[in-house]
């Protein structure tokens, strides 16, 4: 592929990607027909609650969930090459780097920091020991670790949590990957350290023109740190749009509900929060129709009969009664008048009693 083309083609093209796990109760569809594209240099925020499939999606793409209970279908093209149902080890580190939530379990506790960074350098870049050490010190300097020459001789337990995550980033970036998967990279860290790590990731990404998927349950992080946001629920994409658009004009009731449930600094003390009633769906036996319908205040009979498809375009959403349209206003009015939605969720002026 010519260099000029390379900049126009998306780096990652995911189409109807599915990951399922065979369980005693049946097939658990953790990722169910997900499609999206990721451009070079783009940061895509993937947002959703536990069990929404956001982590499995990314680990599936990387080939990190393979087991004989797992089935995978669809297409994932990385730089034109198919990744699904084949060994993806050649991508690990070299083309796609990955950082995880808990740096302590990702680092080898009995191996010095330096050696853990040398490994990708020697394996992927073919550096000798001396070169690898020089490069490791450079990398640690880039991620803001003071006294790198001393640190490479230390073990992970001698570093603070934020420092360990910086080491993880240095390892992930060592082989200069074109894409970084950051799976809740700051969830275990304090806010001040989180800010530092997110600033650092942004800077490194800009310097290297690297694409990134940032998986997070924190909508504030997604809002401030991404170009586009994809909202997942029960293994499906509910909404996908440029970050500014999704927060200003969200269309999916789940996105709206998720945002409304977060406590905000602008609220005065003891402001009543707006939880999402009910619990996330069972992915072995998902509810018929739209998976969010049992918890949705707009739900109509159609929502329980038919699953809405994602529309095409820059702002994609899968909903028959999108938020901010006349259709949703009418649907809500109808539900308020009858006191419940089509799925039997009680709504009205009094806040529904939380059940989860």
């Amino acid at each position: 592929m010519a260099a000029a083309d390379a900049n126009n083609e998306p780096l990652l093209v995911v189409e109807d990607y599915e990951v399922g796990f065979r369980t005693e109760r049946g097939l658990a569809r953790a990722v169910d027909k997900v499609s999206f594209e990721l451009d070079r240099g783009e940061t895509l925020g993937i947002v959703g609650e536990s069990g929404s499939g956001k982590s499995v999606l990314n680990r599936g793409i990387m080939g990190l969930v393979s087991s004989n209970r797992m089935i995978e279908d669809g297409s994932v093209l990385f730089d034109g090459g198919q990744m699904v149902n084949r060994n993806r080890q050649e991508f690990w580190g070299a083309k796609i780097g990955m950082i995880f939530q808990d740096p302590m379990t990702s680092l080898n506790p009995v191996m010095k920091i330096g050696k853990q960074i040398f490994e990708p350098l020697r394996q992927h870049l073919g550096l000798d020991k001396g070169e690898a050490e020089t490069r490791a010190i450079e990398l640690l300097t880039q991620v803001g670790i003071p006294e790198p020459a001393r640190r490479i001789k230390q073990y992970p337990h001698e570093l603070s949590g934020g420092m360990r995550q910086r080491v993880m980033i240095a390892i992930a970036l060592a082989a200069e990957p074109e894409m970084l998967i950051a799976d809740e990279p700051t969830t275990a860290l304090d806010v001040t350290v989180q800010k530092y790590i997110l600033d650092l990731l942004r800077q490194l990404q800009l310097d290297r023109g690297m694409a990134m998927t940032l998986i997070t349950h924190d909508l504030g992080v997604a809002r401030g740190r991404t170009d586009n946001v994809m909202v997942m629920y029960g293994g499906r994409v509910m909404e996908h749009a440029p970050t500014d658009t999704i927060f200003a004009e969200m269309r999916h009731p789940y996105t709206e509900a998720l945002l409304a449930s977060v406590p905000s600094l602008k609220h005065a003390k003891h402001t009543r929060l707006t939880p999402i009633p009910g619990a996330p769906p069972d992915i072995v036996n998902p509810p018929p129709g739209c998976r969010f319908s049992p918890r949705c205040k707009y739900a109509q009979p159609k929502c329980t009969e038919q699953a809405p498809e994602l529309n095409e375009g820059e702002h994609r959403y899968a909903c028959f009664y999108p938020v901010g349209t006349d259709a949703s206003a009418e649907a809500l009015e109808k539900n308020m008048a009858q006191g419940h939605t089509a799925t039997g969720l009680k709504i009205g002026l009094a806040p529904a009693k939380a059940a989860g």
Partner: protein
């Protein structure tokens, strides 16, 4: 950071339920070294109030809360609960006090016994504390009432064990277990940190309802500033074993004056963060509590540090004339005195 001093204690009020004075908690670290986990912390909590304790990992917020219930007893200082100094009580006297102060923890699943049925978990406190005559009908009714109050089905609770409930439901069970003995105080140690946002909102609302219904006083520990702002009447910001700012929650979040509070708040990824455009970032690493900095403990990382901060420890002083106190020689005073932007709602 801060500092010692007790100017912020509300001596004039007669509804103070907990009063902690000059609390010090030290742990041996081997080789004759000492971890200064909490150093000379004082605060009070009025009846029906929620005090939020915020700060980063290692600031001593959990240690402070646990010292209140004498787990373990503090190295020095006093904890006055309802007129009794808990530090002076004998083992049996302290045990008799225990039903009054209950605790709920961060991980709802590991804090419940997986082998026991939920009804039994909730009723255990009553089994221990009720007299023979009270056991049976009385306690059964009480357990069912509490389980229903926290939003669970009392009939199901007789049959099911914790693993059959979700994380949010397990946290409701923890709350029920704490409530069953009709305590005056509940210490909540990061009670919603392990929960998804939608469930977090359910549990926070439930806690507020329980506080209202049973007239509880809460000591609420969290690293999440938005959560703390939402549930607390008063907030204490801690750093390295000291209180750096304390007072009315809305006031502190609207006009933070301590440089550490400002940096902490500026780091919160919230679009409505009043300090979101603050360019300062907290630099450097947290100093070791084995050898904390002299003077103000925050001086090694403070953007406003002066020579005085490195030698003299600041004492807690009032800011303006409201409920706002800080321990800092050079607080950021712009904006103080203006009306807080947030207005209380019912």
């Amino acid at each position: 950071m801060a500092g010692s001093g007790s100017a912020h204690l509300r001596n004039e009020r007669d509804d103070i339920l907990i009063r902690v004075e000059n609390l010090v908690m030290e742990f041996p670290a081997g080789k004759g070294q000492v971890v200064h986990a909490v150093s000379d912390v004082s605060f009070d909590v009025a009846k029906g109030e929620t005090l939020g304790l915020v700060g980063e990992s290692g600031c001593g917020k959990s240690t402070t809360a646990k010292a209140v219930i004498q787990l373990p007893p503090p190295t020095s200082g006093s904890v006055n609960f309802n007129g009794t100094d808990l530090t002076s009580l004998s083992g049996e006297e302290l045990r008799a006090m225990r039903p009054e102060i209950q605790m709920i923890f961060q991980d709802p699943i590991s804090s419940l016994n997986p082998r026991r049925r939920v009804h039994d978990i909730v009723s255990e406190g009553l089994q221990i504390w009720s007299t023979k005559a009270e056991r049976g009908a009385f306690s059964e009714g009480r357990v069912d009432e509490i389980i229903e109050a926290v939003g669970l089905d009392p009939v199901e609770a007789h049959k099911r064990r914790p693993h059959e409930y979700s994380g949010g439901q397990c946290q409701r069970i923890s709350v029920a277990r704490a409530l069953v003995l009709d305590p005056q105080v509940i210490i909540c140690d990061e009670p919603v940190s392990a929960l998804d946002v939608s469930v977090q909102a359910q549990v926070l609302n439930m806690l507020e309802d329980m506080k209202e219904r049973y007239g509880l006083t809460l000591l609420f520990i969290s690293h999440d500033l938005s959560v703390v702002k939402n549930v607390s009447d008063r907030v204490a910001v801690m750093y390295l074993g000291k209180i750096c700012e304390i007072g009315d929650g809305d006031e502190i979040f609207a006009n933070p004056v301590h440089p550490y509070t400002r940096l902490l708040l500026a780091a919160v990824p919230d679009p409505d963060n009043p300090l979101a455009n603050e360019s300062e970032t907290l630099v450097g690493e947290l100093p070791s509590p084995i050898d904390p900095p002299k003077g103000c403990r925050f001086n090694t990382r403070c953007p406003r540090v002066q020579d005085k901060c490195r030698t003299d420890e600041p004492v807690i002083e009032q800011i303006g004339d409201g409920d706002h106190w800080t321990a800092c020689w050079y607080p950021v005073l712009e904006g103080v005195g203006e009306t807080p932007v947030a207005t209380p709602t019912a």
